[in-house]
């Protein structure tokens, strides 16, 4: 074996040493001394999760296409190795060259969920480059963040030198060119950051002054220099057909969570569900061309040897050429003995036909995501799925031999009443009732309906960004109410109900709409030993409560408080295309239980039209 950063003794004492040795199939090999820029790309969670992420594969491909850049990978060391690295002062290293991260030019961290924030601090700590951006030396890597959580980067702003807001395909070349120039001329870190702030989509948190009023509300966020923009514009890759996509994705030795080829059909979503951040920040909907998808599917299968392929997007049923693409894949995969893992599709004749071809009907289940139990509540959240459609789809499937149903709901949605909560089990019960109308000899035994509920977290850049969140007691009260109601229903023996962890949800809520004052809490809770908070086995609520108490942070200020309509939010400096005016309108409509049509039916003037492309333009042509 070539050089490894960890000794045989260490590798033999830790769990799953294959997480740390690199050398995977399709790994890019370059000579570090022959490139100008060394970029370490980090997913701050364990290897098996990080290796499953499509975004990193795209960026890995994009950076490594540049001859002057070598992009390598790094993931969070599991707690067993974490302790050894801390004790022996072993610096965090990248998988490809096994070199220390502190020797790199950039450390890029993708931030996919709030509960990885302590893992970000762990990465910075183990890399030995300074946890706080302000304490980083001239030769430390530039730490840059990206991903959905950067739509409110403020709670973690002080740990980063830069953030890239939006899709990576558009501005990274410009940023890397600028860096190369800066490195050649030997200008200071501060100069580079200031220059970088001129690039559209780049946010340099250290260049802003922030003030709060006497109630702790954000009062102002002002650039320190005239040339630093006060608004940072989200980046969107409009042409997804001719943009970079991996042809040779990495294939891990250790089984990743998603061990398959992933085909991204499109970005964005036309549906406009009011709770959904992805549905807002990735607007407008842009599709990839079907010819490109077919070609990439075959190429990637050939180059990886994967035995499974899956389709990815926010709402795959809305992809224009889904039928043609799916039947093409079914045929090709049959020839090559490859499995197709279907995304959740709207249940209709087409999806049932596809499902019956690729899965065993007796083992598979139908999935519906009504998100709310009552029609009133579904109107509030603008989820355009009616009970009629659900029952119709389910009945069609029941006649086809299916007898398992999964239903996804949220509890704690804005304007929710106890009646809405009880409507969750009642909906499940009515689906069961419908099943039993089928004559005994024509149905397939007893129906199994599994309803599960997550607790709602209001997110920035959604119409519910003003809404109060429930506290843990209220969440649990509602969960018990739903469960108790279910036990009293006619078909209760065919139904089951599960719900998520309320404590994690509360912290997600705190961080999602937090401001810069929370960075101290994050630092302190990490000091208390919190890492891998997204993992039930490591999550320690008590540590968080202690840190919040010591730092005198009122969690309710961030979670249960209803925001005034004219409140200045920490994330308002980002221009996500979708306007605050539109979201305000949507929030008020939600209060009235009024629905808004999807982008295909009618434009609702959200603001994403500024990109002059995708669904915004196609729609115009059709009308």
């Amino acid at each position: 074996m070539n050089k490894l950063a960890l000794s045989h003794e260490i590798l033999m004492t830790i769990e799953k040493p294959a997480r740390y040795i690199g050398n995977e199939v399709n790994m890019v090999v370059k000579q570090p001394e022959e490139v100008d820029i060394r970029f370490a790309m980090c997913f701050p969670d364990v290897y098996e999760i990080g290796m499953s992420h499509l975004g990193i594969q795209i960026l890995y491909e994009m950076f490594n296409r540049r001859e002057d850049t070598y992009c390598e990978r790094v993931y969070s060391p599991w707690p067993d190795l974490h302790n050894i690295m801390k004790e022996k002062q072993i610096p965090l290293f990248a998988l490809e060259s096994q070199d220390a991260i502190k020797e790199f030019d950039f450390l890029g961290i993708t931030i996919q969920y709030e509960m990885c924030y302590t893992n970000i601090i762990q990465i910075l700590d183990l890399a030995q480059i300074g946890i706080w951006a302000r304490e980083r030396s001239e030769d430390a890597p530039i730490v840059i963040g990206g991903g959905p959580c950067t739509y409110n980067p403020e709670p973690i702003a002080d740990f980063f030198d830069l953030f890239y807001i939006g899709e990576g395909e558009t501005k990274y070349d410009e940023l890397l060119d600028l860096y190369k120039e800066h490195k050649k001329r030997g200008t200071s870190r501060k100069d580079f950051l200031r220059q970088a702030s001129h690039i559209e989509g780049i946010y340099v948190p250290s260049l802003y002054d922030i003030t709060y009023d006497e109630n702790g509300l954000l009062k102002s966020m002002t650039p320190q220099y005239e040339d630093v923009p006060s608004i940072v514009k989200k980046q969107v890759q409009m042409d997804l057909t001719n943009s970079v996509y991996p042809k040779k994705p990495l294939v891990a030795f250790l089984r990743p969570t998603q061990d398959r080829v992933t085909l991204e059909l499109q970005r964005g979503c036309i549906r406009g569900c009011r709770f959904c951040q992805a549905g807002m920040i990735y607007r407008p909907l842009r599709e990839r061309n079907i010819a490109m998808l077919k070609e990439y599917a075959l190429t990637m299968l050939k180059n990886t040897g994967h035995e499974e392929i899956t389709l990815s997007s926010l709402s795959s049923s809305d992809y224009s050429d889904l039928e043609e693409l799916t039947y093409f894949l079914i045929e090709e995969c049959k020839k090559q003995n490859i499995n197709i893992s279907l995304p959740s599709l709207r249940i209709d004749a087409f999806s049932l036909d596809v499902m019956s071809r690729v899965q065993d009907v007796k083992k598979s289940s139908l999935t519906f995501a009504p998100e709310a139990g009552s029609q009133r509540m579904r109107d509030v959240i603008n989820k355009g799925l009616t009970e009629e459609v659900i029952i119709e789809g389910a009945m069609e499937a029941f006649h086809g031999g299916w007898n398992k149903v999964k239903l996804y709901f949220m509890l704690g949605l804005p304007f929710e009443t106890d009646e809405d909560v009880r409507a969750i089990p009642e909906l499940a019960d009515r689906i069961a009732t419908a099943y039993y109308t089928i004559p005994k000899e024509e149905r397939n035994g007893r129906v199994k309906i599994n309803a599960s509920a997550s607790f709602f977290v209001p997110k920035p850049f959604t119409p519910f960004q003003w809404a109060p969140m429930n506290d843990a007691e209220e969440f649990l009260r509602k969960a018990y109410l739903a469960g108790d109601t279910m036990r009293g229903l006619l078909n209760h023996r065919s139904l089951s109900f599960q719900y998520h962890d309320a404590q994690t949800t509360i912290l997600e809520g705190l961080l999602a709409r937090g401001d810069r004052t929370l960075s101290k809490v994050l630092y302190d809770v990490y000091r208390k030993g919190a890492i891998f908070d997204a993992w039930t086995e490591w999550f320690d609520y008590e540590k968080w409560m202690q840190a919040l108490l010591e730092d005198d942070i009122d969690i309710g200020f961030y979670t249960t408080r209803e925001r005034e309509l004219d409140e200045l939010f920490p994330w308002d400096f980002i221009d996500a295309g979708v306007t605050k005016e539109f979201m305000k309108r949507e929030y008020l409509k939600a209060k009235q239980g009024q629905v808004t049509s999807n982008c295909k039916t009618q434009c609702s003037g959200c603001g994403a039209m500024v990109w002059k492309g995708g669904i915004c333009i196609e729609n115009k042509n059709e009308v």
Partner: protein, 220 residues
């Protein structure tokens, strides 16, 4: 060497797919290749003598197929060195395996190497070497001696031939532990590296061990 046995199987499934050889699949909704290792290798152990059983729908020649498969391993650390056809009804490698050869090398900082190497002749003179083995049903006494077919000092390393298989199986680290105890020194599992040289079958006719590949014939 740091990749577990099941992950190595998954790796080979993908190698075969990439290579385009005409491998056989099971029926059903999730067809899979029928692969099995003769004697799964533990984590931390290196090897130059592993055997894998599989079935093909059609074959060309050993040489051509080796070329195809090796072009698809995509790592410098794994190479298929031989490909032989087994007769219909032949024992699977896992059932045929009877022994394995190992080389044990020591970490330079391990202070008891000399003591261990010196103890080898006397260790081999023992007519029985009883150890207590922890099993699911409690403790059990096992005599190692008949399972050790050869044990030799070569330069600063040790080579050994041990009984391997599903009925009787002796791991090299068990021998090392027992040898350290016999020499009266402390056993440190991380102070030596195990390398498998070959995996063997028992040739009834000749009454000797032979490489597993001798069960089949090269396809020409």
């Amino acid at each position: 060497m740091y990749v577990g046995h099941l992950d190595t199987l998954r790796y080979f499934q993908k190698v075969f797919r990439r290579s385009g050889v005409d491998i056989a699949y099971s029926n059903g909704f999730s067809p899979h290749q029928i692969l099995s290792f003769a004697a799964p290798l533990g984590i931390g152990v290196t090897s130059e003598g592993e055997y894998l059983d599989t079935e093909f729908h059609s074959v060309t020649t050993s040489q051509e197929m080796l070329g195809q498969i090796n072009a698809a391993t995509l790592t410098p650390y794994i190479e298929i060195t031989e490909l032989v056809a087994l007769e219909e009804g032949a024992k699977k490698a896992m059932a045929a395996v009877a022994g394995a050869d190992y080389r044990i090398s020591f970490a330079t900082k391990y202070q008891y190497r000399e003591a261990i190497l010196k103890a080898v002749p006397l260790f081999l003179e023992q007519t029985e070497l009883i150890i207590t083995k922890q099993t699911k049903k409690g403790e059990r006494e096992v005599d190692l001696r008949p399972l050790i077919h050869q044990l030799e000092v070569q330069n600063d390393a040790l080579t050994m031939r041990l009984t391997t298989g599903s009925n009787n199986n002796l791991r090299p680290d068990t021998v090392m532990e027992s040898l350290a105890a016999f020499a009266g020194v402390e056993y440190e599992s991380l102070s030596f590296m195990v390398h498998r040289l070959d995996t063997l079958l028992w040739n009834e006719e000749e009454g000797c061990f032979a490489p597993l590949s001798s069960a089949g014939h090269v396809i020409v």
